[in-house]
Symmetry: C2
Subunit: 175 residues, 2 copies
DNA sequence: GTCGCTCGGTTTCGTCAAGCAACCTATTGC
DNA sequence: GCAATAGGTTGCTTGACGAAACCGAGCGAC
């Protein structure tokens, strides 16, 4: 008597059945392991499969399936930058860029509670005026409410405490 | 020839080894499935094990281990509200309350991209002036930058489209 | 007093997805 | 011909998730 459940198709997936809350809806899409880090990586200018794989240390099959999912959900867009052999780059859509405030909030939370005595490893600054950005994505110098394209990442005071790895210094967002 | 990895203690867990980014740090703590929804539930006034279990539809063992983890991480605090038999309630610590901006950002993202034609199922309003709250956690009426305690949840226009379940109408945050 | 119920879990067991490694295809460089 | 690179896919192992059963202290009804 094994069949305890009838429809496996809708069980045990990444969804949160019965939740009619937009947080749950969001997490169904970007709440899987690695998903938000992939979005962050693309924001930081990592656009290619192997770049992300190296930067994240994620298994290739998992990266592949996450990218597929993010493209299906219209968070990333896959574009060929050459043919034969086909090679691709991934870009954030508007929907993907709109995740920026959530990422900023999570980053500040991590900065506050998990970064070492040296301070945060990375800072986000306003491209225009160079001011630092608050947990709400607001420029602390000029007060503007910013969006993904208005910001740029720079190494923070805690940067030296890590590194050795492969990450570029300051990823610009081109799209 | 099984031992492909040496130290399982630090492999395959909920961490993201090699990432020196505060987003990764945050996700190590609250990125597990259900964790953020539990925090949201406590924010909404669900404080007891069985309340959360019913509201979330989560397996009891998983809820148990998540609560344990969140208490260990100092995001929740467990307090006995009676002895023999010991019964507990969970409250958010300051660290837990500080997750509010991230939750608000995720909620707005879900509202924008996943809610039905009726509109979002829930709204967050400023307790003092009743104004709606933006994706940055700023009151759209009075312009104040808010924190968890300043806000209150009310049913939104898309509320009717769901329900039937057990959730209370508007959870106040007491702590 | 014992039957059943509630609360807050823990235990058991089965399934599924994450992780690793090997393989594949097509092209370029030497 | 041989190796390297890019972007995956396939196969296998292991650990996390989910459902249901169990537990144990108290309480109310009979």
């Amino acid at each position: 008597m094994q069949p305890r459940v009838k429809n496996f198709t809708e069980m045990l997936r990444s969804d949160y059945p019965g939740q009619f809350c937009s947080i749950a809806k969001s997490l169904e899409v970007v709440g899987e392991r690695w998903s938000l880090l992939i979005v962050r990586d693309v924001l930081n200018g990592h656009r290619r499969f192997s770049e992300m794989q190296q930067s994240l240390g994620i298994a290739r099959n998992v990266l592949s399936s996450r990218l597929q999912r993010l493209v299906d959900e219209d968070i990333l867009e896959r574009r060929a930058y050459q043919e034969s052999p086909a090679r691709y780059e991934y870009f954030l859509t508007e929907k993907g860029l709109d995740l920026w405030p959530a990422l900023i909030a999570l980053m500040h939370w991590g900065d506050r509670y998990s970064s070492g005595p040296e301070g945060p490893p990375r800072l986000i600054v306003h491209k225009e005026c160079g001011g630092e950005i608050s947990d709400r994505g607001i420029c602390e110098r000029c007060g503007e409410v910013l969006h993904a394209r208005d910001a740029r990442q720079v190494p923070g005071p805690g940067w030296e405490a890590a590194v050795s790895a492969t990450l570029p210094v300051a990823g610009e967002l081109d799209r």
